[in-house]
Symmetry: C3
Subunit: 205 residues, 3 copies
């Protein structure tokens, strides 16, 4: 009967949940790139669970959106941000899936660097999203996420160029090239989050 909620603020809580879920995922990915880490498959299964948690949060946001008449920020931005946060978690899981499925012998130094950049981006996403309700300091976190994406792009390009110089097995070149690209794409999706958050902040000033 009263399913239509007139004005709903709970969206910010959901975004916080999704961002913290990403942060937890990024921490697991960092563990996978530690050469003393023992079980890639175990970590990957954990990331699959976190991905499902992310899916549920996304669906809750979209269901609530369809029952809400007046939203605190524009409807299309709520939808866009929910999808963008979901995409980040999906790409973290996809990076882990490749490390596990391709049975890599030991993580490379570069994969560790990229995982660290993803972790830092996740920390900035948590801050950007949590500052969205109060609209303070939003921009500086978005700028930092953009900087981190550029950094990941440079690391990934150099890492792939190095594969051609130093790696003699073409199979390993193909495997690592794709792992680096998937990790770099993860930071592209973080940048998508930052761009939406930034545009929401700009509209409200």
């Amino acid at each position: 009967m009263f399913r239509l909620i007139l004005r709903e603020e709970k969206f910010f809580e959901f975004f916080d949940e999704a961002a913290n879920n990403i942060l937890e995922g990024a921490k697991v990915l960092v563990q996978m790139t530690d050469e003393h880490d023992s079980d890639l498959q175990e970590r990957w299964k954990r990331l699959e669970e976190l991905e499902h948690v992310g899916d549920k949060i996304t669906h809750q946001i979209i269901r609530k959106l369809n029952r809400t008449f007046i939203t605190p920020i524009e409807r299309e931005d709520i939808h866009g941000l929910a999808v963008a946060l979901d995409d980040v978690m999906d790409l973290i899981e996809a990076s882990a899936a490749r490390m596990s499925l391709y049975k890599i012998k030991r993580p490379t130094e570069e994969s560790g660097k990229l995982a660290q950049v993803i972790l830092k981006s996740a920390e900035e996403i948590v801050k950007a999203v949590s500052s969205l309700e109060r609209m303070d300091d939003v921009m500086e976190h978005c700028i930092e996420i953009n900087r981190l994406e550029n950094m990941a792009d440079d690391i990934s390009r150099e890492a792939i160029a190095d594969l051609f110089d130093k790696e003699h097995d073409p199979m390993d070149v193909i495997k690592w090239k794709e792992i680096y690209e998937t990790m770099e794409t993860t930071t592209d999706r973080c940048e998508d989050v930052a761009n939406i958050v930034e545009s929401v902040a700009l509209k409200s000033t």
Copy 2:
């Protein structure tokens, strides 16, 4: 003089045409992955024709959209759905092009599985689009398309991991990896169609 049509329902007919064109394309792709199929290039040429048919339908929709004042569903959704359907057909053709251009010796079992998933997605697209005008059962078809996309992602990941284990020629690894990825991307584009159809259905409830 009377080029401006006030309210136009013909859009649903065009969407049905585009969806059935995709279905025909998916059937040709399934044939290409049958190991007893004789002529990859012939099939590919057929898919190029179907791609051109798809292009024409897309242009007709966009032309009509620009002459229509009141649309049965939101303008941006009509445009988005036309482009998304076009993209599915393009990716089916792109998958076939790679199989033909890379002169694969015999289709793999996994390429057959992926083509079947694409065929099932195409069948669901036909149903989802045809139920859009009456707005009944739309959601169940969209959910099924999402499930099929997840399935294609799993098949493709496993198939690529298997290439590294079982395939000894790096050239064949590179070829098949790209064919699997292109087929998997086809189901991503099917999911884009489902997402637009779903959002149209949600807006109208």
Copy 3:
């Protein structure tokens, strides 16, 4: 005090600047595919500079957009066009980066053909964007950009198929495959520009 500009026409000037910056970038890329060209890294550095120029123009457009109340074309189209032009320049730089980082011995004929198509697309972008203010001849340039994208797709597909036939070093196959794909993606981004320009033109008729 008077930061809010009521109606701002300067957007067209910025778009012209961004388009001419792309054209300059495309010329440098053509030089890199000349087999008598001496210094890939020098050319790449130049393209990094042009990419930064592009970034600045994009930021200026978005900053101005946020301070402008009435825009000559729809706000989302201004934003979309700025981002699309930025993406073209990024992809030109990304193509050059790969040629330089992968230390290619000599440019292939096909990379020269693709660079020429990118150059022609850039020339059409300059014309399309400059005709946007007066809204004359916009469509023919957009159609030409679409035609050039199809051409690049064909060249790139054939070039990659040729690698499998003629190239014996898998490392070189992987390198060139990615260079061709990045160049082809550049023309996809040119098509995105054309699609936005086309839709702006259609809305205004």
